[in-house]
């Protein structure tokens, strides 16, 4: 579905990613893990045309999207949830969702979409007229996810959705992501700090260090000595 080939990208003169190759297949959850500053978020931003790409190509469903503008990416079915539970705090939940689904012209389709979203996130339905600001951390993350799903994406890019959530909520979120993947047939590319949880939940994982991918594999890489050493404290 998504193929990143020999990508080098960064911010202005500063190159962060060097020759990165990443692939996401249909209905797959792929995790990007690595230490701070490795370039995990930069990969997502590069897909979403928020960085300077110096080399390489990004293709989505056999179509090159390297030069696409943000709104063209959305039209092709890629949604991005940036880091930090980005919500429009002073708007209500229903207004937040409406912004996500603004391009749905048909009223019928919009309400169907909304109804469907509420089956995934029942808690949002009970607080429609509350402002986003008044929600708890976990609920805010759900709102950000729900808003992205309003656009009916084929590929969802998530930047550290578990940031600042309690371990229990983190676990629930991963379960929810798998549920969404199965139900919506959406591929998910997720950047995650919690390496163990990410490897366990994802179908495949890439390990990034200093802007290059140094390891790739399925759930079995959790046994890898390097991963154990660096990310799981060696005592897993």
């Amino acid at each position: 579905m998504l193929t990143i080939q020999n990508l080098s990208a960064g911010y202005g003169e500063l190159e962060i990613l060097h020759n990165v190759n990443v692939k996401v297949n249909d209905d797959e959850i792929v995790a990007l893990i690595g230490p701070n500053g490795a370039g995990k978020s930069t990969i997502l931003k590069s897909i979403f045309a928020l960085t300077t790409i110096t080399h390489g190509t990004i293709t989505f469903n056999a179509e090159e999207i390297t030069q696409c503008k943000t709104h063209q990416l959305l039209e092709r079915g890629i949604s991005y949830v940036p880091q930090g539970r980005i919500n429009f705090g002073d708007l209500t939940i229903s207004e937040n969702l409406a912004i996500g689904g603004k391009d749905i012209v048909e009223k019928q389709e919009y309400s169907e979409r909304l109804a469907h979203i509420f089956t995934l996130f029942p808690v949002l339905k009970t607080k429609l007229s509350h402002t986003a600001f008044s929600l708890s951390g976990g609920e805010q993350q759900m709102l950000a996810l729900a808003r992205a799903l309003m656009q009916k994406p084929k590929l969802l890019l998530l930047d550290e959705p578990t940031l600042g959530l309690s371990p229990k909520l983190q676990k629930e979120l991963f379960t929810l992501l798998q549920h969404i993947r199965n139900l919506e047939h959406v591929s998910i590319l997720i950047v995650e700090q919690n390496a163990k949880k990410a490897i366990e939940s994802a179908d495949r994982t890439y390990l990034l260090e200093n802007g290059s991918i140094i390891m790739e594999g399925g759930k079995e890489i959790i046994e890898n000595p390097k991963i154990q050493q660096v990310y799981l404290g060696g005592s897993y």
Partner: protein
């Protein structure tokens, strides 16, 4: 006598409601700390005055004043769109000073510090608005229309997107919305209303000079927006009443005028202080000052 005086106050209140509300569209709803509003007000006043005095019909000049101020507003945003917060405030304040200097120094056009006296009363459909009563009616109608349009704008999808861009610009951009385009429009709309307010003001007072569009007036407008509350239409309607009427009460106290002027300033400061201390969101504001 008292009647004329009251009419005078209400005309001023009407003009300031349009100004406060349009400034609130940029500061409160769009999150742009725009200090160039008073310059747009001045551009409107001078445009309308100069056009009418050169023989153009009032209604055409009135609209041109709005349009020219709208273009200036969009231009101002174009020049400052990469700036945020304090930097944006300073740059737009600079714009106010530049326009003020132009009014002061382009003597051939504006007569500089001498100002332009004898601005004719508006002539609409062959009728001249001579009496202040009719002028109040005219101001009232324009104010009502402005409130209506601005209320609709703030409640529309466009208004919601503006607020979303204020709360989180990146968040809105990753949803595929062009935040620059949104803010261009917001500044242009605010500019238009500042421009027509300028036109109403000039033809009512019948004399304009650069000092009417100086920093003092800008501070008054900002105070009105803050006292009324950011992102609140109701607040921006109430605040001009409070800020214009309360100091006017001083006129009826027997006091030398040398004390009266400073006292008026003290009252503005007190109102602002009390609001900031005890009601930081203003009378009806929905968002915090940042």
């Amino acid at each position: 006598m008292i009647q004329t005086y009251l009419i005078h106050l209400f005309i001023l209140i009407g003009i300031y409601i349009i100004l406060t509300l349009s400034l609130n569209l940029t500061i409160g709803y769009s999150g742009l700390l725009n200090l160039g509003h008073v310059a747009l007000f001045g551009i409107g006043a001078y445009t309308s005055t100069l056009l009418v005095m050169n023989g153009l019909p009032f209604l055409l000049s009135f609209l041109t004043a709005g349009i020219l101020a709208a273009i200036s507003g969009a231009l101002l945003y174009g020049l400052t769109r990469k700036l945020k917060g304090d930097y944006l405030a300073l740059a737009t304040l600079g714009f106010s000073f530049v326009i003020y200097s132009i009014m002061l120094n382009w003597i051939d056009l504006t007569r500089g510090p001498l100002g332009i006296p004898g601005i004719p009363k508006p002539l609409i459909f062959g009728l001249t608005i001579q009496s202040t009563g009719v002028y109040l009616f005219f101001t009232f109608i324009i104010t009502l229309i402005s409130i209506g349009i601005l209320t609709l704008i703030t409640r529309s999808t466009f208004g919601r997107l503006l607020q979303a861009a204020r709360d989180d610009e990146i968040g809105l951009r990753v949803l595929g919305k062009n935040t620059y385009a949104l803010r261009y429009k917001s500044m242009a709309i605010a500019g238009f209303f500042a421009g027509i307010a300028g036109s109403i003001y000039a033809h009512y007072i019948s004399y304009i000079d650069p000092s009417s569009f100086s920093l003092t007036n800008l501070i008054f407008l900002l105070t009105a927006v803050i006292v009324g509350g950011l992102a609140s239409v109701r607040g921006s309607i109430i605040a001009p009443f409070i800020l214009i009427l309360i100091p006017e009460a001083l006129r009826f106290i027997d006091m030398p005028s040398s004390i009266l002027g400073p006292l008026r300033q003290i009252i503005y400061c007190l109102i602002l202080l009390v609001i900031l201390l005890y009601r930081p969101r203003g009378i009806c504001g929905r968002i915090d000052l940042q």
